[in-house]
């Protein structure tokens, strides 16, 4: 088994705000991130896959096909987007890095089976909101 990881970037804006909280509670919970106009990040996304090395190609995955799945399902919709208004999952979900991780993970997992029916498996993802703030889902190191 080998794990291969590819790193991507996208820039998006968001505002951390919950309709279930009062304006005061929102400010208290999210601080500056609750600024009504929103703010942006250069997100970095790491996607890891795990599988066996194909004996002919020496590769664990077709990188072009890998890039295409991530592009189509994550980067194209999210790059230069406002996560709160442009990404349907966030209509009623606060776009924290944690929830963004869940959304990205779900999108990739839904697309994975038809894109790579014979493997490799999607291992996990990691999202850097900044260099110092990182979330990780499932097997990704």
């Amino acid at each position: 088994m080998i794990r291969l990881t590819r790193k991507y970037q996208f820039a998006a804006s968001h505002r951390l705000h919950s309709d279930q909280l009062s304006p005061e509670e929102n400010r208290e919970t999210f601080g500056k991130c609750n600024n009504p106009f929103g703010h942006g990040h250069n997100y970095q996304l790491e996607v890891s896959v795990r599988g066996e090395i194909d004996s002919t190609s020496g590769r664990a995955i077709d990188i072009t096909a890998f890039d295409r799945v991530v592009n189509d399902h994550v980067l194209l919709p999210m790059h230069h987007a406002n996560l709160n208004t442009d990404i349907e999952e966030f209509a009623a979900l606060v776009p924290t890095s944690e929830n963004l991780g869940r959304v990205v993970d779900r999108r990739l997992r839904e697309a994975w089976q038809s894109a790579f029916p014979r493997g490799p498996e999607l291992d996990g993802i990691r999202i850097y909101e900044t260099e110092r703030s990182i979330i990780e889902l499932a097997g990704a190191r």
């Binding site: 794990r3 291969l4 990881t5 190609s57 020496g58 590769r59």
Partner: protein
């Protein structure tokens, strides 16, 4: 506890399988199949697992680890054309995946008594692409 040592080497390679035709190699690997090769600055991270020795406080003597990495990986790999100069890449396509497996094979014998244990080999072909191999 894990300790991770990072080293770098620069090498050229061509991603082509000698059993395939030029056309098939181009279809499979794109521009990376160029028979004249191209190069990368590879970064290797080796993770060693163990408990700190009660006397030295070390999981492993880092001088020793550095010497092993230099002798078994950097010396044979650095400033080489992998396909022509570094077996098994005369027969095996030198993808990042296969490089990680080969480096593991080269290092494993130095950790045979299991203390400390070789835990992982991570090879970055570029900052945006890396593989992990755990044996």
């Amino acid at each position: 506890m894990f300790i991770i040592k990072r080293v770098e080497f620069s090498a050229s390679h061509a991603c082509r399988n000698p059993q395939l035709s030029d056309e098939e190699n181009r279809a499979l690997f794109g521009s990376a199949a160029n028979p004249n090769g191209h190069g990368h600055n590879y970064t290797l991270e080796v993770t060693v697992a163990g408990e700190p020795d009660p006397v030295t406080g070390m999981v492993m003597d880092l001088k020793e680890l550095k010497a092993i990495l230099n002798r078994d990986v950097i010396d044979p790999y650095d400033h080489r054309f992998l396909n022509y100069e570094v077996p098994p890449f005369d027969r095996v396509v030198p993808t990042t995946e296969n490089i990680a497996v080969d480096i593991w094979r080269r290092l494993k014998p130095q950790f045979e008594n299991g203390r400390p244990r070789l835990h992982a080999v991570r090879v970055y072909e570029t900052p945006d692409l890396f593989v992990d191999y755990f044996g």
